[in-house]
């Protein structure tokens, strides 16, 4: 039943062969074909731009007031590409291999190899668009390192890489808007997929300014709606990030792949109190230059700078000498939790570790700069001053952000950091062509499950989003649309549109009429707490079972006691949020179910029952080398389908970063 449509042939030939044989749509016919793109982050904006350039008639949607504000804008550290500009041994194969290994052998080899192949085109395209990546004095592009790799392949623009890439894609898309190839609908939220004769043929969305429901037809529908980390309430995602579009598609038949695969990012600013509305990431790139430590003594109350060098435990360097501070995220997060649980945490809450830049300020940057300037025997103060200037250029905005939030100056005192929910590897199941199991319904970017297995390597999400949008979908969609050239646009008066719109309207009415006592926000917080405690960094069977019961209970309470102020036919952010939280509650249950089913540890999914003697994650390839694709069968009822993963090239081994 699950056909991943992986082309035959050797791994490195698959994509080349596919492109050579895929069906094409001629330019005259492209103009007759309409494509709906929901979401205009990196995946959606790049897809809309590329498809518009090809001549398709594109309609694009986002819930923010402008496509330039999609959550991709917040990505900080960088984007990977196998350019090997540093001559340090990088290659398409190595990027492929690192990504499969980093994902703990739970990703599809063919997809990952294609991703590595097109990564080089992405950088070329972005530079041509005017994306101002960091450069060396000679005018050529600069690179930095990220976790889980031993080469420098990450391209960046200070700590604002996502912003610059998204602005590039946004501008390319706005150019297509000006040319009349793309029509943009901002402040619109998709609330359902319209199915005609078993194919996705359009969407119902709500105009968030006046509350009206709208029907839009498309020969194909692309969901590029981002990740669902906000199911945990607190995460590094933007406030509006949600699962609604993917969830509606799921309820219309699209399978949900590996929902429990969540990435907890090791370096975020810790929670400061109950008022907390979101968490802020401090980019992984900081681990290039920051060293992570806790005091060797339990419950040490001294200030960080008063603790002498020999009383500091650089636990990542100690446990993982080969990768040190640059171990993958899942490993770094668990190690931080382990230290804090054991009583070595720092700060008022004791739920934090230090990320300290002093050593590299002095030794790495300070000394190099002093050398460049010909200063002999510089004192520490000079070294720190010189080092600061370099660090400012590399990460200045992140340091400023830290200071604004915490009131502490990270150039002077180490940052306090703690893991936080950051990214979701799970998402709608898609085949090699990025089509879900529903015909004509595609899913791109973070919203799909495809490339990162059980753990995503840093700087690979931006790469995937742009790969999907610029370089994969423009080819694969033709293979479907070539057979649709005879299909006339279906009028939105068609019964399927009428019925679907009615179902959406009914649900909104039901929500508004509950008129209960508890706010949407309070339900979201409670859901987040259950998820974080029982389906977070460490999971076990008992906790997951409890969580499922608690979530079902929460769902009942929500649908009988939520209070949504205001009306339907107006701008009503609480109503928008209520719909999203209702979907998060259902997703939360499925995530726990998936986590319970997967009785192994892999990547970001750590089942306490499955660990090595040293406390590292223990995979079970015999029983779990598959993608869990869940089919919705009705309330609290799902059927599991398995896509077995074959590893022909990157043979699974126990991951080791020692």
């Amino acid at each position: 039943m699950l056909d991943s449509k992986i082309p035959a042939g050797p791994l490195e030939q698959k994509w080349v062969d596919y492109k050579g044989h895929v069906k094409l749509v001629n330019p005259a016919n492209k103009r007759k074909l309409e494509v709906i793109v929901v979401g205009t982050g990196l995946a959606g904006a790049s897809a809309a731009a590329a498809l518009g350039e090809l001549g398709y008639k594109v309609k694009a949607f986002c819930f923010q007031d402008s496509p330039r504000r999609a959550h991709s804008i917040a990505a900080q550290g960088g984007i990977n590409a196998a350019k090997n500009y540093q001559n340090d041994g990088d290659s398409v194969f190595r990027l492929f291999y690192d990504t499969v290994k980093g994902g703990d052998y739970r990703a599809r080899e063919a997809n990952v190899h294609r991703l590595a192949e097109v990564s080089v085109n992405i950088i070329d395209q972005c530079v041509a668009q005017g994306v101002p990546f960091a450069r060396e004095y000679g005018g050529l592009l600069n690179n930095r390192s990220f976790g889980g790799t031993q080469v420098k392949r990450t391209f960046y623009a200070a700590g604002q890489t996502g912003q610059q890439l998204l602005i590039g894609a946004y501008q390319a898309m706005e150019r297509q808007v000006a040319l009349g190839n793309v029509e943009m609908f901002s402040r619109h939220e998709m609330l359902d997929v319209v199915m005609v004769d078993g194919k996705a043929r359009g969407i119902i969305c709500r105009n968030l300014v006046n509350g009206e429901l709208e029907r839009h037809f498309g020969h194909a529908v692309l969901l590029c709606t981002g990740g669902y980390g906000n199911v945990f309430y607190l995460s590094t995602n933007a406030m509006g990030s949600n699962v609604t579009a993917a969830w509606k598609a799921h309820k219309k038949g699209a399978f949900f792949g590996n929902p429990c695969f969540t990435q907890i990012h090791p370096t975020c600013i810790p929670v400061s109190g109950d008022h907390q509305s979101k968490l802020t990431l401090m980019s992984e790139s900081l681990r290039n230059d920051g060293r992570i430590w806790v005091p060797k003594k339990k419950d040490d109350t001294r200030k960080a700078n008063d603790i002498p060098e020999e009383e500091r435990d650089y636990y990542l360097e100690r446990r993982y000498p080969a990768f040190g501070n640059l171990v993958p995220r899942d490993v770094a997060s668990r190690a931080a939790k382990e230290r804090c649980d054991a009583g070595y945490g720092v700060g008022t809450t004791k739920q934090a570790v230090y990320l300290d830049f002093k050593y590299n300020l002095i030794n790495k940057y300070g000394k190099t700069e002093a050398g460049k300037l010909g200063i002999e025997n510089p004192d520490t103060e000079t070294l720190i001053r010189l080092g600061k200037e370099v660090v400012k250029e590399e990460y200045g905005n992140l340091f400023d952000m830290y200071e604004k939030i915490t009131g502490e100056n990270p150039y002077e005192v180490p940052m306090r950091i703690y893991p936080a929910v950051h990214y979701t590897m799970g998402g709608l199941w898609v085949d090699y062509e990025l089509m879900t199991n529903v015909k004509g319904l595609y899913c791109l970017g973070e919203a799909n499950f495809s490339d990162h297995g059980a753990n995503r390597l840093g700087a690979s999400a931006l790469m995937q989003g742009l790969a999907d949008g610029y370089f994969v979908i423009p080819y694969t969609i033709g293979n479907y649309l070539a057979d649709e050239i005879a299909t006339k646009p279906i009028p939105t008066t068609h019964e399927a549109f009428v019925q679907t719109e009615k179902a959406v309207a009914d649900r909104i009415n039901t929500l508004m009429n509950i008129k209960g006592k508890q706010t949407v926000e309070s339900f979201h917080k409670r859901l987040g707490k259950i998820m974080w405690e029982k389906c977070g960094m460490a999971r076990n069977a008992q906790g997951l079972q409890e969580a499922i019961t608690e979530i079902q209970q929460l769902k009942k309470e929500f649908w009988s006691d939520v209070r949504i102020p205001g009306g339907i036919a107006e701008m009503n952010p609480e109503l928008d949020k209520a719909g999203r939280v209702a979907d998060f509650i259902e997703l939360g249950e499925l995530m726990c179910k998936d986590a319970l089913n997967r009785n192994e540890s892999c990547g970001g999914h750590f089942r306490e029952e499955s660990q090595t003697e040293e406390g590292e994650a223990k995979r079970d390839d015999v029983n779990f080398a598959y993608v869990a694709a869940w089919e919705y069968k009705g309330e609290s009822n799902w059927e599991l389908h398995k896509e077995n993963l074959e590893f022909e090239v990157a043979k699974p081994t126990q991951r080791s970063y020692k």
């Binding site: 402008s66 085109n121 070329d124 668009q129 101002p132 390319a172 008022h275 604004k404």
Partner: protein, 253 residues
């Protein structure tokens, strides 16, 4: 950092929709921690309003990290509040003390009509970008990224201009509601790079023409925009735009 609690009075602009006249409402807020962000303080108030059966205050926000450009509050007469180079979402309550009164309004400009409460329509900015804020290169057309070296200082200057988040604070601060800082940032970002050079002239002309059409006012060099810009976009970009524009206008005559 030591934290403290405070009680405040908020005077907030309430407006049901675009046609409503709107007016200020006062709200007391209690037990606000100095560690909260400004928007978290509004969250607290909104939760109370909902519990009391009232309509919460509508405002734009998303990333809450100072990068998406959504948040847009005019706080005590200054876009984004009192801190330098800062967005509303990154303003923290440490900036205030017990007993303070804070007045909160939406951006005010003809080209940014109010939709509801503190939410305004900034789609004019998207249309200005459509008029020419891009480099015309189709996907797949690019040469190797290192084929065209860019001098580091030019690349750095382009990056500094590209840091604009499209928030519109510059317009809100300007007595003429001019959008020239925003437009000049984009024109500079692209004109400074060799890739952007072929379209320099048409870009400057078309973007400025669109800006005028949207109803933004003229620039009289007061510098209010630069002072409030959360990303430190410099008014030297306006000088560069003027130069680009004169050159282009000369040629097109």
């Amino acid at each position: 950092m030591e934290h403290y609690m405070m009680n405040l009075t908020l005077k907030v602009w309430r407006q049901k929709n675009a046609n409503d006249k709107g007016g200020f409402e006062s709200y007391p807020v209690k037990n606000i921690s100095s560690e909260m962000s400004f928007l978290e303080m509004i969250d607290v108030l909104n939760e109370e309003l909902i519990r009391d059966g009232k309509d919460p205050i509508a405002f734009d926000h998303d990333c809450r990290e100072g990068i998406c450009g959504a948040c847009s509050m005019y706080i005590n007469g200054r876009p984004h509040g009192p801190w330098e180079q800062n967005t509303t979402c990154q303003l923290h309550m440490r900036a205030y003390k017990d007993g303070d009164t804070i007045t909160i309004e939406p951006w005010r400009a003809n080209a940014f009509p109010v939709i509801k409460d503190l939410v305004v329509d900034r789609s004019a900015f998207d249309r200005i970008i459509q008029a020419g804020g891009y480099i015309s290169v189709n996907t797949g057309n690019a040469v190797d990224a290192n084929a065209m070296p860019v001098e580091k200082d030019k690349a750095d200057a382009a990056f500094a201009a590209a840091a604009c988040i499209g928030c519109g604070a510059c317009v809100a601060a300007c007595k003429n509601s001019s959008a020239l800082l925003f437009v000049s940032a984009k024109v500079s970002h692209l004109a400074l790079l060799p890739q952007g050079s072929p379209e320099r002239k048409s870009r400057a002309l078309n973007m400025v023409a669109q800006m005028d059409k949207e109803g933004f006012g003229a620039c009289t060099n007061t510098g209010a925009c630069e002072a409030v810009c959360p990303k430190g976009i410099s008014i030297t970009n306006i000088a560069r735009l003027n130069a680009e524009f004169s050159l282009a206008a000369l040629v097109s005559q």
